[in-house]
């Protein structure tokens, strides 16, 4: 929580050059502007001080690339539309190595292509923020919103023993906030960070405050490449053929991950006091789950919502505490059941855990979630506690 709770020291509002709907005349700033999620994430990154953006067109994140194509040159910053997602992520690797604050965005199939370089960047300890606007899968799948990349984002992605922080906004306003947090985490811990959105968050429009936050720069790090004039050369790499040395490097990485796990878990809870059924959901599924919880409570079922904001590190202890007196826990996802594995690991068998999910771009309705909550409640005996 420490890092995420500290806003940048210089929180001067960043003025949007031409907020949508204001015809380019930005003064006086309206209290709210209507922004598409993809565009809001892009502008938030610019406000946060993103020096370089690399991307490749893919639905449903293409507006993010288009926004950057216009805005980054306006700001005199680096923008390249790459030949592929492989190209984009490796350009990011190069830019990060020379000290740039880098953003890359894509959607599920493109993210798969980026797995290799993410592993290299984790191994080389290079900071970067990667936005995944998830779509239906597997394979080419659909362009509808889905959450089938949870395991990819939180458990593996590329090869080797590494993790990256994964931030999951459930509104466009929260996405804007988390973009800044993602850059803070990336640079504080020298790691790639994933912002895990979905097609609805990317495509929907919501009112947002157009004063996006800036992110303070750390003092120039001592690992950045700039040419070795007047000092010994530096090498940024992940290769180490001596097992003893590579294990030592891995232990350093693991220590970083342990620190992130200890300090950076983030979540939100609603109506959890006395909840008999705790619904766990993130992103767009959490928006639906919130409505479902309200309807269930209107119908007399004491339900609550636990919403992880960091999917890695997963807020396990907080969920365990929230569910201590519950009769059932229900994971609601736009997937076949991926986060539910972390929910079960967190609950450690103390309470029955159920899952309700839709796939392929289908979105659960609040009523079907309410039904799932009722089934979870009635299947669990509740007498144990």
């Amino acid at each position: 929580m420490a890092v995420l709770d500290q806003p940048g020291a210089e929180t001067l509002p960043h003025l949007v050059a031409s907020p949508p709907g204001t015809g380019g005349e930005a003064s006086p700033l309206p209290d709210r502007v209507l922004m598409k999620g993809n565009e809001a994430i892009a502008e938030a990154a610019i406000a946060a001080g993103c020096d370089a953006y690399f991307g490749y067109p893919i639905t449903p994140q293409a507006e993010l690339l288009e926004w950057m194509a216009r805005r980054m040159p306006e700001e005199g910053r680096t923008y390249v539309q790459a030949e592929s997602e492989l190209g984009a992520i490796n350009m990011a690797l190069g830019a990060a190595a020379v000290g740039a604050r880098v953003l890359v965005s894509s959607s599920s199939p493109g993210i798969s292509l980026m797995a290799e370089a993410m592993s290299y960047m984790a191994g080389s300890r290079l900071p970067m923020v990667l936005v995944n606007v998830m779509r239906g899968g597997p394979g080419l799948g659909s362009i509808g919103a889905a959450q089938g990349d949870y395991l990819q984002a939180t458990k593996g992605h590329g090869h080797g023993d590494y993790r990256v922080p994964v931030l999951a906004p459930s509104s466009i306003a929260e996405a804007i906030e988390l973009v800044g947090d993602a850059f803070v985490l990336a640079e504080r811990y020298r790691t790639p960070v994933i912002l895990l959105a979905d097609g609805i968050l990317g495509q929907a429009m919501e009112p947002v405050k157009p004063d996006f936050r800036s992110v303070e720069r750390l003092p120039a790090p001592d690992w950045v490449l700039e040419g070795a004039a007047g000092r010994d050369p530096r090498a940024i790499k992940s290769l180490d053929l001596r097992p003893e040395d590579l294990e030592r490097h891995n232990l350093v990485l693991q220590a970083v991950y342990a620190e992130i796990t200890a300090r950076e878990q983030r979540w939100a809870g609603e109506s959890l006091d006395g909840a008999e059924v705790v619904v766990v959901a993130y992103g767009t599924a959490a928006r639906i789950a919130r409505t479902a919880v309200e309807r269930a409570r209107e119908g007399g079922l004491r339900a609550g919502l636990f919403r992880p904001i960091t999917l890695w590190p997963f807020p396990a202890q907080a969920l365990r505490d929230a569910a201590r007196d519950a009769r059932a826990v229900l994971s609601v996802e736009m997937s076949a059941g991926q986060m539910v594995e972390d929910v079960r690991l967190s609950i450690e068998g103390a309470v029955p855990v159920y899952h309700h999910g839709r796939m392929g771009g289908m979105v659960p309705t609040p009523d079907e979630v309410v039904d799932a909550m009722r089934r979870a409640w009635s299947t669990s005996d509740g007498g144990a506690s």
Binding site: V80, G94, A97, V98, L225, P233, I236
Partner: protein
């Protein structure tokens, strides 16, 4: 490697001889940008190419502001041998990595150092598009026609009939296709400001290779586009030859298949003749 340079002896006229009246002429000094002895096999060309790069960067006084973008293959440890800031790339991705570096730091000298397995197979998309965009960095492309580090397998650059550990009866063009003439292909792209193919087969060719590498870095300083030098080199172990046999094959068979020379130097008016409207090629209407 040049005989004349070696004949001069190390230290002639170098530091420490000052004050003496002897007006020694420096004919060879080991570049300070070279550090450790390399771990390359006897007869491998990488050591020569490393030295040439070091000499050129030193001559142009660029070492302190140069960033090396490495690749995967035998030259993966180039950062251990060249005293430069250096960055590792995933296999084949060096041209994309270098794009990111150079776009953010256009004031730095950036070059990739890639083998033919890395550049001409897994990295074709990255090198073609970096060249097409006219990225302002330099690529040193060392082509020995084989995957050396993994045990001498066939590469896209392997010559027809050449035996490798994955083409035991010799490369069969009927099933594995033909060698990829990367530098000729890239020469067609307007974003390519300089392209040359050289060889390290003998002292004369090494001297020309040095000139080409120097010109490539000069072109980068001119900031007009992409520059590439393909260096034909050897892999005695992968070729199942002695070092001298390998150099002999390089000088004859390999150079015959891959002609050396300057293909593009646009600011000096050297560019391939592309089909032009009204040119000698047949139009579609004529052709059908």
């Amino acid at each position: 490697m040049s005989a004349t340079r070696e004949a001069g002896g190390i230290g002639t006229g170098g530091p420490g001889t000052g004050g003496a009246k002897t007006e020694g002429r420096v004919v060879y000094r080991r570049p300070q940008l070279l550090s450790n002895p390399t771990s390359y096999c006897p007869g491998c060309g990488h050591g020569i190419v490393h030295r040439l790069v070091a000499e050129v960067l030193e001559e142009l006084d660029l070492g302190g502001r140069t960033i090396l973008v490495g690749s995967v293959g035998c030259s993966v440890f180039a950062y251990d041998y060249l005293r430069l800031d250096a960055l590792e790339s995933p296999h084949g991705r060096a041209a994309a990595v270098a794009t990111g570096v150079k776009r953010v730091r256009p004031d730095r000298i950036v070059f990739t150092y890639q083998g033919d397995g890395d550049l001409a197979a897994i990295g074709t998309a990255e090198i073609v598009h970096a060249a097409a965009r006219g990225e302002r960095f330099t690529t040193i492309f060392v082509n020995n026609g084989i995957y050396g580090m993994t045990g001498g397998q066939m590469a896209p650059t392997t010559l027809p009939g050449q035996k490798t550990s994955s083409s035991l009866k010799g490369r069969d063009v009927g099933t594995t296709g033909y060698p990829l003439p990367v530098t000729e292909m890239l020469s067609l792209l307007p974003g390519v400001q300089y392209a040359a193919r050289v060889s390290v087969a003998d002292p004369g060719h090494v001297g020309k290779a040095r000139q080409a590498i120097k010109r490539a870095f000069e072109v980068q300083i001119e900031e007009k586009g992409f520059s590439i030098v393909e260096v034909l080199s050897t892999c005695p172990v992968g070729w199942n030859m002695t070092p001298s046999q390998a150099m002999e094959r390089l000088a004859t068979e390999v150079t015959a298949a891959y002609p050396v020379g300057t293909f593009v130097d646009r600011s000096r008016g050297i560019a391939p003749a592309l089909p032009q409207p009204g040119g000698p090629h047949r139009s579609i209407t004529e052709g059908f």
